[in-house]
């Protein structure tokens, strides 16, 4: 069924006018255009990196040269000219500022305009009950500010840019970087390994519940640049952290590349909650410009009963190629993926998740909602894999798509591969089958089936969205209003 008028308006509102398309004039330090071993060395030297990291980058670069750009996703875009892209762009300054007072006021204004609280006192003086959020602000290739570091340090939490962590905690970086997403994992991951500029490093020690939400705010500003950041989050035994990520970019006619790598490691009983509101510039109504968002995100649930939960609200980017995944290697570990993806105009999104069940009693839940408007393409692509040694695995997958215009497209490509008979795998694309018990309950109280289903799924999603902090939740809430009516499997 076609979407209601209300739905159309809501989608237009969310994806219509891009509010973050302004350009900031900041003096930049750029690497020459193009990619070569020299550029890799240049980036490494700029960041005063140790020898081992330079070698690690070079190894990735050489591997990347031999790899082919993937073409299996349901996305079309002109071939990227890697020699016409700047692989490094940083606001000019000597060293990373020690406090916010030293940050270029022009940059602070950018984040103010985006509504990102960089100044700690602002948050502290905020409304009572408002949650504190520590922010790492990444501007083009470098991290320009990281807030609440001292307070976090007291709790033993390390929260800093990854380039600082390379110098301050080289052992942790060496131990974990590239273990979840190997260098050769895929074309864009290899590229990222060679030229990654900055990103966030988080380490939560044993038994610590991180005292506040952590977040990174990515901003692409410079023209013709690619952003290649890496995020590495490690939660030791019994630790807990909630991490959020937001992204925007100016409106430009050229396409810009964003190829990030995110690695999460959860040890015994640890929990990582990772939320994203991806709002990169999607291009204009005719599909001109916009970000190519080619991202590799993966979590390793290494420890027993560890848990990783990915929540994403995807509204931006011209092309999205992104599959936040969980490798469930620890017994009883849990992976979750909750996603709402909205595409409009000529946007293309190919997104989903992979749940690899390697250990017994592992569980995973996948809830994906795709909404396509305009002439866009929205594809869910997912893999649920159960290895033969993994007993009593449980997976529930539900993916619904809603088409809001007759010129848009919705695709579902789930892969289910099971090698253990004790697994219980369910893939549902019809809302009417979500939970017979709940349905029965609602219907017994006089609700129609449609109403009941909408209530159940909405209620469930709301619960997920409520975990997002305020500024993310507002955006996500709008998406939630979209009726489930007329869903296409």
């Amino acid at each position: 069924m076609a979407g209601t008028q209300e739905t159309r308006e809501q989608v237009a509102e969310i994806t219509g006018d891009y509010k973050y398309g302004f350009v900031t004039d900041v003096e930049m330090d750029m690497a020459p255009k193009g990619l070569s071993e020299d550029i890799v060395r240049f980036i490494s030297a700029k960041k005063k990196e140790p020898e081992w990291l330079l070698n690690w980058r070079l190894k990735a670069y050489r591997a990347w040269l031999k790899m082919d750009e993937p073409d299996w996703a349901k996305v079309n875009y002109p071939k990227i000219d890697y020699n016409d892209t700047y692989f490094y762009a940083a606001p000019k300054s000597q060293d990373k500022p020690k406090s916010l007072d030293e940050v270029d006021p022009e940059l602070l204004r950018v984040y103010e305009k985006l509504g990102i609280p960089l100044a700690e006192q602002e948050v502290l003086a905020g409304v009572e009950g408002a949650r504190k959020i520590a922010v790492d602000a990444v501007f083009d290739s470098v991290s320009v500010a990281t807030t609440f570091r001292e307070e976090l340090k007291k709790a033993g939490v390390i929260f800093m840019s990854i380039s600082e962590a390379v110098h301050e905690y080289p052992e942790l970086i060496k131990k974990y970087m590239g273990t979840v997403v190997p260098q050769r994992d895929n074309y864009f991951a290899a590229l990222n390994c060679a030229v990654f500029s900055d990103g966030t490093f988080v380490y939560i020690p044993k038994g610590v519940r991180c005292p506040m939400e952590l977040s990174t705010y990515f901003r692409i500003n410079a023209e013709n640049t690619g952003q290649f950041e890496r995020t590495l989050i490690i939660a030791e035994e019994g630790a807990y952290v909630s991490y959020l990520e937001g992204c925007t970019a100016p409106m430009r006619d050229e396409n810009q590349l964003h190829a990030a790598v995110v690695e999460l490691v959860a040890l015994d009983d640890a929990e990582i909650k990772y939320s994203t509101v991806q709002n990169w510039y999607p291009g204009d109504k005719d599909g001109k410009g916009g970000i190519y968002n080619f991202v590799t995100k993966r979590a390793l649930c290494k420890g027993k009963n560890s848990k990783v939960s990915w929540t994403q609200v995807e509204t931006g980017s011209a092309v999205t190629w992104k599959y936040p995944s969980c490798v469930l290697a620890g017994e009883g570990s849990v992976g979750e993926f909750y996603s709402v993806a909205v595409t409009n105009n000529l946007q293309q999104a190919d997104t989903g998740t992979k749940m690899i069940h390697m250990a017994p009693n592992t569980r995973s839940t996948i809830i994906s909602k795709g909404i396509s408007a305009g002439r866009s393409q929205n594809c869910y692509r997912g893999l649920v894999k159960v290895l033969s040694g993994a007993e009593n695995v449980r997976n529930y997958t539900q993916c619904d798509s809603l088409l809001v215009s007759s010129t848009s497209a919705a695709h579902t490509v789930p892969y289910i591969e099971v090698k253990n008979p004790t697994a219980q795998i369910e893939h549902e694309a019809t809302t009417s089958k979500i939970s017979e018990d709940q349905l029965f309950y609602c219907r017994a109280r006089g609700l129609g089936e449609e109403e009941a289903v909408a209530m159940i799924v909405n209620g469930f999603c709301k619960e997920v969205m409520q975990h997002l902090p305020m500024e993310f939740a507002v955006e996500a809430q709008k998406l939630l209003g979209i009726s489930l009516e007329g869903s296409v499997g």
Binding site: S406, P414, I416, V418, P421, Q424, H427, A429, V488
Partner: protein
């Protein structure tokens, strides 16, 4: 090695020159294409779950006519019985009944001879096996049912492979149903213990208001490779109803490509695969909804025991403007042993907004509660298991239009269960 295999097939294609009228350039175009692409590997999306390394590593020669062979008994009342031995039509062993009065049945050689353009009309395909079938086809049957003619009893085609060790048969059938015509084709595939490869392509055109039932019972020999493709186009208000049963062969594949070309065209494609020992069954369906108000429904049930593997890849495409399409798909797999494997890839590709498409897939083992319920009523575990598996697979047989065909399929499934239940039974008793 792969070059040697390709060269062998190029030679085979060359040696077939002049065998079927008008096929010369069609064969050479196909073999050039095959030389370019070779056999698919697990990296090819449609071959993710079928590992045909045996085909990549060994060139199968052209199957020859065996000295003598026994034709299997009929499984139900049929209107006609047409027999192909090692891929060649055997007119002496075939029985046309009274059919030729109502419709035409002839070898593909005669069909091609009548008109030079007919070779060009053959589906040459894009996947390597159809391409190779085009290059190497030697025989097959052409069925043509005139407008308004309804053939009630099934027309049985028996494909028998005998003494064809290391050999292959590439068979091509064409089926044409005129407006409002109706026919039921029952294809059976049987073979001996030798290592052979059976590769068939069936092309069917169902005209306005016509109905084609296509039932397949695949009981190839245990060493066989069975690869079959069905390419079907359905006209306005036409119906294509298929049910495929995969039981035999070491590796089997049934790939149905159904195009709903005109408003109101309908297709139902169902299937059951039972995999044991080291068998691998792969069933692929692509239903292409090109026009508005077309409908399709798929029900697939698979059971895997021992080291068996059952896979299903079902794709539904709804083209731009194909509004009010209804498409449903249900896939369920049962795993009876620790070492068995099930794969599913139910895919939707939708370019129209006013449609209702859905798919559901589940994979798991037999419901312990249901087992307990039956056993608490005094039914022994083996029978209980058999009952549950039969009930499970029966979902896919419900649409079979002919009761005796459906019963014959049920019997085969029952005997499979009786032969393969013990592995699981031992576990229960322990």
């Amino acid at each position: 090695m792969p070059e040697l295999v390709t060269t062998a097939y190029s030679d085979q294609a060359a040696s077939l020159d002049g065998t079927l009228a008008g096929m010369g350039h069609v064969r050479s175009a196909a073999i050039s294409k095959f030389e370019e692409t070779g056999f698919p590997t697990a990296r090819d999306e449609n071959w993710r779950y079928s590992d045909i390394k045996q085909l990549r590593g060994q060139a199968f020669s052209v199957a020859q006519k065996p000295p003598s062979t026994e034709i299997p008994d009929a499984i139900c009342e049929t209107a006609a019985r047409l027999v192909l031995v090692n891929g060649r039509f055997d007119v002496e062993r075939s029985n046309f009944g009274d059919l030729l009065q109502a419709m035409s049945i002839r070898p593909i050689a005669n069909h091609l001879m009548a008109n030079n353009d007919r070779a060009n009309e053959l589906h040459s395909g894009s996947d390597a096996l159809t391409v190779l079938n085009t290059a190497l086809m030697r025989d097959g049957l052409v069925f043509s049912v005139p407008a308004g003619v309804e053939i009630e009893e099934p027309i049985e085609i028996v494909h028998l492979m005998s003494g064809a060790d290391g050999a292959a048969a590439h068979v091509r059938h064409l089926i044409e149903l005129g407006e409002g015509a109706k026919a039921t084709i029952l294809e059976r595939f049987v073979g001996d213990e030798s290592t052979y490869w059976f590769n068939s392509v069936l092309q069917a055109r169902v005209a306005e208001g016509a109905a084609l039932n296509h039932y397949r019972l695949q009981t190839e020999g245990p060493q066989a490779i069975h690869t079959a493709k069905a390419v079907v186009s359905v006209g306005a208000g036409g119906n294509y109803n298929a049910c495929n049963i995969s039981l035999g062969a070491s590796l089997s594949r049934f790939d149905a490509e159904v195009r709903l070309l005109v408003d109101g065209a309908n297709a139902t494609i169902d299937g059951v695969a039972l995999a044991a020992s080291r068998q691998s069954h792969d069933m692929l369906v692509h239903v292409d909804h090109r026009m508005p108000t077309t409908t399709s429904d798929q029900v697939f049930r698979t059971v895997a025991d021992a080291l068996g593997k059952s896979s299903f890849q079902g794709k539904i495409t709804v083209a731009v403007g194909a509004q009010q399409t209804l498409a449903d798909q249900s896939f369920k797999a049962l795993l009876l042993a620790r070492t068995a494997e099930a794969n599913a890839k139910p895919e939707l590709e939708i370019y129209a907004d006013d449609v209702k498409c859905s798919h559901g897939a589940t994979i798991g083992e037999l419901d312990a509660k249901a087992m307990f319920y039956l056993m608490s009523r005094g039914i022994d575990p083996a029978t209980a298991r058999q009952m549950l598996v039969e009930a499970f697979t029966d979902d896919a047989l419900e649409r079979i239009d002919n009761a005796s065909v459906a019963d014959a399929f049920r019997d085969r499934i029952k005997s499979w269960m009786m032969a393969h239940a013990p592995t699981q039974l031992e576990k229960d008793v322990a």
